[in-house]
Subunit: 123 residues, 4 copies
DNA sequence: GTGGTCTAGACCACT
DNA sequence: GTGGTCTAGACCACG
């Protein structure tokens, strides 16, 4: 399974990191699980090990994984990760709404149209 | 007034373009208004004329302004620009909600919290 | 009547020249007719006399008008002008067809589709 | 092979872009093919890397190529590109015919003369 | 080595 | 004075 989209403008390392974040959020990868090794993932994705390494470094910096020298990379146990993501989404939406208000678009009007598009797939 | 943020990761020309888009959306700049000249704006922002030029080229490409050689750049008369922006915001919010659903966050729950933050400043 | 389109990318002097060429082709301006004076036309178009002058110079260079010092500019008597224009159009179309052939588009196919669009307004 | 024509009024970056578009249309460059690097092409054409860069940016904007940072530029897979070009040519020819009608030239007459010039090289 | 951005400075077309 | 293009050279992000 190669999820890299070269047509996507974003750098490859970012796509790799993003992919793992999603897997962690969705619970596919859980606390303590071992990440694929840098070399094996690089092979699997037909990309440069440096690129995978950069993705892992980024994930570690953002608190998603931790490294044990000589053993590998592991998913962190972070109970608040979900809340962080939730907060992140809320902040983003609120900012978009503010932006709309700034240029004179009614927020209520927006919500109505958004609901129309969301409901069919709501949980 | 210098709105360039060198800390911002985005290129300077993009920040300049963005800034003018906002001014147009907000109505500060209206159809037919003349934009500052490439050179004068470059001076004011202490940046290079080419950088301003690139921002203007981008704005023209996106249909916000038009150019008359030897005269200057002017704001375009584009009635549908507001609708475009609205559609853009709706799409962005819907995508964020989908993202939330993907990782198991209830959209209804999100909306409640968003409303709490929006209401105080709602129109 | 101001036919200048500032949104048009082309320089103003070119638009002015173009406009007069069309009037001559259509017979609205005929051989010997006097052109509007540089100053009066500049006033009428709210543009710079230099710009009008440049348009007239261009028209003279291309053989459409001639200048009598102190009297004004006049439309030339050029019987072959029509043929020139016709030849010009033919050359342009032939070149477009060659371009199509170069990239493997059937010319016959093109002609069929063009006729569909032309016929409703054919003479 | 240097296809730049300094006599041509059009800017160099436009000539470069045009040239690649033709190569893509003709199938010389196919989906996924790598473009020459900005620097190498600049050397080959004895021009400035920025000029090549501008051409590539333009090509990307128009949907002909995509960029992977640190890897290079690649030809996009766009099946509908041919149809676009065809439509473009048809529109241009139709406009020329309208122009002819405007000044009283018979379109049928034109077609006859065009066919005379086209047939010898028709497919 | 690859593309992306920016600066500095020049020349040209247009008004 | 206005924008459009080009050159030269630099620095950064990415792989």
């Amino acid at each position: 399974m190669n999820f890299i989209d070269y047509q996507d403008g974003r750098p490859i390392y970012e796509q790799i990191a993003e992919n793992f974040k999603l897997q962690i959020y969705k619970g596919i990868l859980q606390a303590g699980d071992q990440m694929p090794s840098v070399r094996s993932l690089a092979m699997e994705l037909s990309t440069n090990p440096n690129t995978v390494q950069k993705a892992y470094t980024e994930l570690e910096r953002q608190g998603f994984i931790y490294t044990v020298k000589g053993r590998g990379n592991f998913v962190k146990d972070n109970a608040s990760m979900m809340d962080n993501k939730k907060e992140e989404i809320i902040t983003a939406v609120v900012e978009l709404f503010h932006e709309a208000q700034d240029i004179g678009i009614s927020v209520n009007e927006l919500i109505i149209e958004i609901k129309k598009k969301i409901e069919p797939i709501d949980d």
